[in-house]
């Protein structure tokens, strides 16, 4: 019988001419983290969040303005000439780490990342030569749409406007355009839209392009979400309503880029959440005594927490890799985003599940914030593409094809 094939040299799909990934946090980023953490500790502690999640309006009053407008966090991805901070995905990722750590209800991922990145793709596309269809448009139409996009970006970057891409939260970056919703054929009614209740504006993908529809012209029907800190709603916009921002080709690419940035930075939210879960579990098991010993001194429990720490070491590297690859526009950014999602969504869920288990009965109570983390982690596992979808993307990108 034939012996196994002699393996060939390892492949590296990354372009060797690209800059090495920077996987560390810079001092500026740590300063930003400290500022966001201080704000959230002051204004959005777990008890404050717990006090609002059942009201249908979980967003803490004034917090969005403080973070998005006063601190400028909403404009991190937006260049200064378009009214933003001219920072990058690396800094936005740090904000998300802190929002994940505190399980804060804020439309940051949806508005400041996904919607903003989608519009940025359109803005950059209109400055370049453009695709076939933009060339075929009348020049003044293109100019008007471009001014519209620039205006929207400035509004989003300033935090004055919250915009949400009207797709189900579960939509993966590689999803078809416009995303079809099972059971809702060819409708302008989209269920499962995250933070729709906070939106001033919807970006609506339609067959003929991407539209900007003011919330006043849409119907928003709240749903009951698993994660009470990220409200979901069904959004219905009248067919053809709103302003068309671009044709189908440019819109498809822009939506994909918005979702890719969202998936990549969601990994940082998952990282922050998992870090909190482990820290809180370690703190609790050091103090809690059973059998006349701190429960954290039992080897069976120590190994579980140490294993979780190992997973976090990986999650930190994976989330940083995705953020850095998005910031520098590396060729393997889609691969690193998929790797980060496949890994970090699993790690966050495990961290939250361990947090509940190792807190014992206390972890099952409504008063303890462990359930906020568990619900967010489980919801995040489905958000912006499940781990399986991201693994399918990896298989295609690195040439590990499934069985024929």
């Amino acid at each position: 019988m034939k012996q196994p094939t002699e393996p060939t040299e390892p492949t590296d799909p990354a372009d060797p001419t690209e800059q090495p990934l920077d996987l560390l946090h810079s001092e500026t980023e740590e300063d930003l983290r400290a500022a966001v953490r201080a704000l959230l500790a002051d204004r959005a502690g777990h008890q404050a969040v717990l006090g609002r999640i059942e009201t249908g309006d979980p967003y803490l009053p004034g917090l969005w303005k403080s973070l998005a407008a006063d601190m400028g966090a909403a404009g991190l991805l937006v260049p200064e000439k378009l009214g933003g901070q001219g920072a990058s995905h690396r800094e936005a990722a740090v904000v998300l780490e802190e929002l994940g750590r505190a399980v804060t209800p804020l439309p940051y991922l949806t508005s400041a990342v996904v919607a903003t990145e989608t519009l940025l793709a359109l803005a950059e596309g209109s400055q370049e030569t453009g695709s076939q269809e933009t060339r075929s448009q009348k020049a003044e139409d293109r100019e008007a749409a471009s001014q519209e996009v620039a205006g929207l970006l400035a509004d989003l970057a300033s935090g004055r406007t919250v915009a949400v891409l009207a797709v189900p939260l579960s939509t993966a970056p590689g999803a078809e355009f416009p995303p079809t919703v099972p059971g809702v054929p060819a409708s302008d009614s989209v269920p499962g839209v995250a933070d729709a209740v906070a939106a001033d504006l919807f970006l609506v993908p339609r067959a003929d392009g991407l539209y900007a529809v003011p919330a006043a012209a849409a119907t928003v029907v709240p749903q009951s979400p698993l994660d009470l800190t990220r409200p979901l709603a069904t959004v219905t916009t009248g067919a053809g309503s709103g302003t068309r921002l671009a044709g189908p080709g440019a819109s498809r690419a822009a939506v994909r880029r918005g979702l890719l940035a969202g998936a990549g930075l969601l990994a940082s939210e998952q990282l922050g959440l998992a870090e909190w879960c482990l820290e809180e579990t370690v703190r609790y098991t050091r103090e809690r005594h059973q059998f006349n010993r701190p429960v954290g001194s039992f080897q069976a429990l120590k190994h579980r927490m140490a294993q979780l720490w190992l997973d976090l070491v990986g999650a930190r590297a994976a989330a940083r890799a995705a953020a850095d690859a998005l910031a520098t526009g590396r060729g393997d950014a889609p691969l690193l985003v998929a790797v980060a999602q496949a890994y970090c969504s699993r790690t966050a869920v495990r961290a939250a599940e361990e947090c509940v288990q190792l807190h014992g009965g206390i972890g099952m109570t409504w008063e303890h914030p462990a359930h906020l983390a568990l619900k967010r982690a489980k919801s995040d596992q489905i958000a912006l593409g499940s781990a399986g979808r991201h693994q399918d993307a990896i298989a295609a990108l690195v040439g590990l094809e499934p069985p024929r």
């Binding site: 012996q3 996987l23 190994h303 070491v313």
Partner: protein, 394 residues
């Protein structure tokens, strides 16, 4: 302090004076050591220039570009990673001058006489005795085990019990042992893979001069911590390409043998591919932390992650090969000079990787270390700390 540009100049000067093409390999390596470019963070005169450790990469890159020979770090890994830092930290000036140059150049291979049949994870329980004779030399009797490279080693780092009346951690002393002493007997230890990469070492009346003691009498446990810490830090130095380790072998088999594919294996292979890529990124992040002068505790994480991954990936690869996975290359006993984790066939990789979670500290012991030293969890109660070694139950 020596900067990057100065190191570049010194490296080019070395290359000018000793062109790699026309220079004997050993002569070149000796010249590199004497120029202080062996390990730049070591002291002047001992192979270094007291430069920041991170700048070694500047020298290495220049030398690699010029095609200069290297000192085969895999072959002398124990000497480089464990003996050298311990000799540097605890040896006399004479000992440092005697041992470091031939160690680095590779003229003298080192091994490590730590573990014993009755003292593996509980290393401080060791029973090998060292007794001082009238001349002031030490006479060593005992047995060591799992000793890689003992059959090719010239020197060994050795810990032995010098005070059985003291508690187990306090009665140990650290020595450099001459492997050519007539009292040293090395026997191959045939392993699960069929080959004998490890050895048993029997020590009978081995004479060690007091000058070859590292650190104070009875302070060997603390000296050994230098060795063990360096063992864990030595990982993460090199940049690994994507699919650079065990996963590359499995991925290649997957790509080249479509007839072997199943949906179950596909899903599991992708899980492991993601884990391997994340482990690679974690190693890269650790390396960047070291270069930035901010070493983290992630070194022990890397060893744990790679042990689990190597075992899972090689196990999957055997399964993927199906009928061929039922076969094994050859069982003939060999005594390799190098440890080769990814070499030979999938069956070998599967069996050899079982050692990854045992050698250099078991995964269970490392998890305890992470839990206690990184996370700050309380230690388990112990009843062996203040009892004389001779009174412990065995």
């Amino acid at each position: 302090m020596t900067g990057a540009e100065e190191l570049r100049v010194l490296t080019r000067k070395l290359l000018d004076e000793h062109p790699p093409a026309g220079t004997d390999r050993t002569d070149f390596l000796r010249a590199r050591f004497d120029a202080g470019l062996a390990w730049v963070h070591y002291p002047v005169g001992l192979g270094g220039l007291d430069a920041p450790r991170a700048l070694q990469s500047v020298v290495d890159a220049e030398l690699a570009a010029a095609g200069a020979p290297d000192n085969d770090p895999r072959r002398i890994g124990i000497g480089l990673g464990m003996a050298a830092p311990t000799v540097l930290a605890h040896g006399s000036d004479e000992v440092k001058r005697r041992f470091l140059r031939p160690l680095w150049v590779g003229e003298e291979v080192w091994c490590q006489l730590f573990s014993e049949p009755g003292a593996g994870s509980d290393l401080a329980a060791l029973a090998t005795r060292a007794v001082r004779d009238d001349a002031g030399d030490w006479i060593v009797d005992g047995q060591k085990v799992w000793t890689s490279s003992a059959h090719v080693a010239r020197w060994a780092i050795l810990i032995a019990r010098t005070d059985p009346d003291a508690p187990k951690h306090r009665g140990i002393t650290y020595f450099v042992c001459d492997m050519t002493d007539p009292g040293v007997e090395v026997r191959p230890l045939r392993q699960i893979t069929g080959e004998a990469e490890f050895n048993e070492v029997f020590l009978t009346g081995v004479r060690i001069p007091d000058a070859h003691r590292l650190g104070e009498v009875g302070d060997g446990w603390r000296v050994a911590q230098t060795t063990l810490m360096n063992e864990r830090v030595s990982i993460g130095g090199a940049r690994v390409p994507r699919e650079g380790g065990m996963i590359g072998k499995a991925a290649t088999t997957w790509r080249e043998r479509p007839e072997l594919r199943t949906h179950d294996l596909h899903r599991r292979l992708l899980d492991l591919w993601v884990d391997a890529e994340v482990a690679r990124l974690s190693g890269e992040r650790l390396r960047q932390q070291l270069v930035a002068g901010r070493p983290g505790p992630e070194g022990s994480a890397m060893k744990l992650a790679f042990a689990r991954l190597n075992q899972a990936i090689s196990g999957l690869e055997v399964e993927l090969l199906g009928d061929e996975g039922l076969l094994y290359g050859e069982w003939e006993m060999r005594r390799p000079e190098l440890v080769d984790f990814t070499g030979r066939d999938a069956g070998y990789r599967y069996l050899r990787s079982k050692g990854n979670s045992i050698e250099g500290g078991t995964s269970e012991v490392l998890l305890n270390i992470v839990a206690e030293r990184v996370l700050g969890l309380p230690p388990e109660p112990r009843n062996d700390k203040d009892v004389a070694w001779k009174d412990l139950a065995r």
